[in-house]
């Protein structure tokens, strides 16, 4: 059993990747930029012993699309690496080669938030139905279903026989 990580240790190790702040009990968040994300994740895996990706969460905060990569390891501390992408052109290089389970999370985020992960082996629809309209991302804050538009499923036929 390894002791939980301390704020000082995490700050010291992650110097140069962004700000480190505590985010709840036994949780630390490192905010970084999209271009340093990959290096930060590799650094976290190598230097902080984070061998498990818990999940990738995406949040739309109306200014940017945030991505949170949550890691943990033997030390049981959750390290979150957060980054923000512009809402107009959210593109990020895929991490599915580095983090195998991220492949599915990226497909899900692509469906719901419209973030394109370049280099992803099969960025097809995962959770949304295949006849869901393109370029509509339901979990974005400004999304509203357009009246009269088909969002998939069987078409109701109301005309009398």
């Amino acid at each position: 059993m390894i002791d939980p990580l301390t704020l000082n240790f995490v700050t010291e190790t992650m110097k140069g990747f962004g700000t480190v702040e505590p985010a709840g009990k036994n949780r630390f968040r490192i905010t970084t930029t999209p271009d340093r994300l990959r290096d930060a994740i590799m650094h976290v895996q190598a230097m902080l012993g984070c061998d498990r990706l818990i999940t990738v969460s995406a949040v739309d905060n109306s200014r940017t699309l945030e991505l949170h990569y949550h890691f943990t390891g033997q030390h049981r501390t959750v390290i979150t690496i957060a980054t923000g992408l512009s809402r107009d052109k959210p593109v990020l290089a895929t991490l599915s080669d580095l983090l195998l389970p991220a492949g599915l999370y990226e497909r899900q985020i692509h469906d719901l938030f419209g973030i394109s992960f370049t280099g992803h082996p099969s960025l097809k629809k995962l959770v949304l139905n295949e006849d869901f309209p393109e370029n509509e991302y339901p979990l974005r804050k400004d999304w509203k279903p357009a009246p009269g538009r088909s969002y998939g499923g069987t078409k109701e036929r109301r005309e009398p026989l």
């Binding site: 985010a23 709840g24 009990k25 036994n26 949780r27 061998d51 498990r52 990706l53 818990i54 999940t55 969460s57 995406a58 949040v59 739309d60 905060n61 949170h68 949550h70 943990t72 049981r76 959750v78 979150t80 983090l99 195998l100 389970p101 492949g103 599915l104 999370y105 899900q108 719901l112 099969s122 097809k124 629809k125 995962l126 959770v127 949304l128 139905n129 295949e130 869901f132 339901p138 979990l139």
Partner: protein, 393 residues
């Protein structure tokens, strides 16, 4: 035979839930497979953003029919952390009891399904019958068999009476005895060993790399358990152990789950016997301050994660639910390559997939057919009448 594509799902006898695999097989061997979950997306995360904290709990409870308590507890404990509420110990204990009962019935259900996947229907019938004991306890405690509705932000909805505690304790010995029987069956029944041993093997390194969670990971020797890594409720105070196994195959996953049933039975007994006195809920503010929380919870199927962000109102800004099944799919896809077609059901079932637990609604219209309608109790009496008679004699 040359390569053929076998569609499995979204409606297939092996999977009671909508997922679509396209298995490319060469004869009886699987070459690769593709995954699509899109059959039944319900948009619960979006809907959760429109409801206040009181109304969002029943919604989240309906994410899953089996681990309904998991979702509400994960959410409630996240919101409570953001609100900085201290939950009374009695409420913590009650939540733990329900959570562990849920784990027992979920694992018994799984054991039956695993038996059914290899055509061993006797095991299926037996475990599902024994599961009724747990369901009865849950019904007595909460009034419901599936969606218990026990959680509130700030505590639990209803208290346990001494009579309920006694009744629950009285049911545990029978359950333990039956589980002991299943331990024997899993280790001795020849066809089960043939179908479970060495099937869907995953090493510890693979389990870590593919991000497997729950019993799937623990069967490969990864001792990850959110109850232990990130103790919540009363898991830090009570005696219990993480069950692991080193087989890494379906047999190992079965052993882990049966071990967890036994461990959960002990936890339930301890909690029922040491139930502290006191309030079952605290007053909660209507709104939550701006903040965020990553709430980890060990659901029966593995680690469930709710990422919650609040914005100072009475609604969540964003709730991101990562179910254990989604985390386990990658490992399934890897496990299946090179295996037999005949092993698909049991390998897929071995992670205990819980896809969307769709919005199934049963509408009983008894206005016209009052005579023909059969109440649930009658139905149950019919099906179990003989069993009861035997048990008594």
């Amino acid at each position: 035979m040359t390569e053929v594509i076998i569609p499995i799902g979204p409606q297939h006898p092996a999977l009671k839930e909508p997922v679509n695999f396209r298995v490319v097989a060469d004869g009886e061997k699987i070459v690769r497979l593709e995954l699509d979950l899109s059959y039944n997306h319900r948009g619960i995360e979006k809907a959760a953003e429109q409801r206040d904290f009181i109304r969002v709990l029943p919604l989240l409870e309906r994410v899953c029919g089996i681990c309904s308590h998991s979702h509400t507890t994960a959410f409630a404990k996240g919101i409570e952390e953001i609100m900085q509420l201290e939950i009374p110990p009695r409420a913590q204990y009650i939540r733990t009891i329900i959570a562990e009962l849920e784990r027992i019935h979920s694992h018994l259900l799984w054991l039956g399904v695993a038996g059914h996947e290899i055509g061993f229907n006797t095991l299926f019938m037996w475990t599902w019958r024994d599961r009724e004991a747990v369901q009865d306890t849950l019904e007595e405690m909460s009034g419901n068999r599936v969606h218990y509705g026990m959680n509130e932000v700030g505590g639990v909805r209803c208290d346990l009476t001494p009579a309920q505690v006694r009744a629950a304790l009285a049911r545990l010995p029978l359950l333990e005895e039956r589980v002991q029987k299943y331990v024997g069956m899993v280790n001795e029944e020849e066809t089960m060993l043939l179908r479970f041993r060495g099937v869907g093997k995953m090493t510890k390194q693979e389990a870590l790399a593919y991000g497997a969670v729950g019993p799937t990971a623990r069967a490969s020797g990864v001792a990850c358990d959110a109850r232990h890594e990130d103790p919540y409720l009363v898991y830090a105070e009570i005696p219990w152990e993480v069950v692991t196994d080193t087989h890494g195959d379906v047999y190992g996953r079965t052993c882990v789950r049966i071990g967890e049933i036994q461990e959960s039975t002990k936890i339930v007994r301890y909690c029922l016997e040491h139930l502290p006195e006191g309030n079952i809920r605290v007053a909660t503010p209507k709104t939550a301050p701006t903040g965020e929380c990553l709430s980890r919870y060990e659901a029966p199927r593995g680690e469930l994660v709710h990422f919650i962000r609040t914005n100072g109102t009475d609604k969540v800004e964003r709730i991101d639910i990562r179910t254990p099944t989604l985390a386990n799919w990658t490992s399934v896809a890897m496990c299946l390559t090179g295996q037999n077609i005949a092993d698909i059901p049991v390998i897929v079932a071995a992670i205990d997939p819980c896809l969307s637990c769709t919005s199934r609604i049963t509408v009983i219209d008894d206005r016209e057919k009052k005579k023909n309608a059969i109440t649930f109790d009658e139905l149950r009496e019919r099906s179990r009448a003989r069993w009861h008679a035997e048990e008594r004699s």
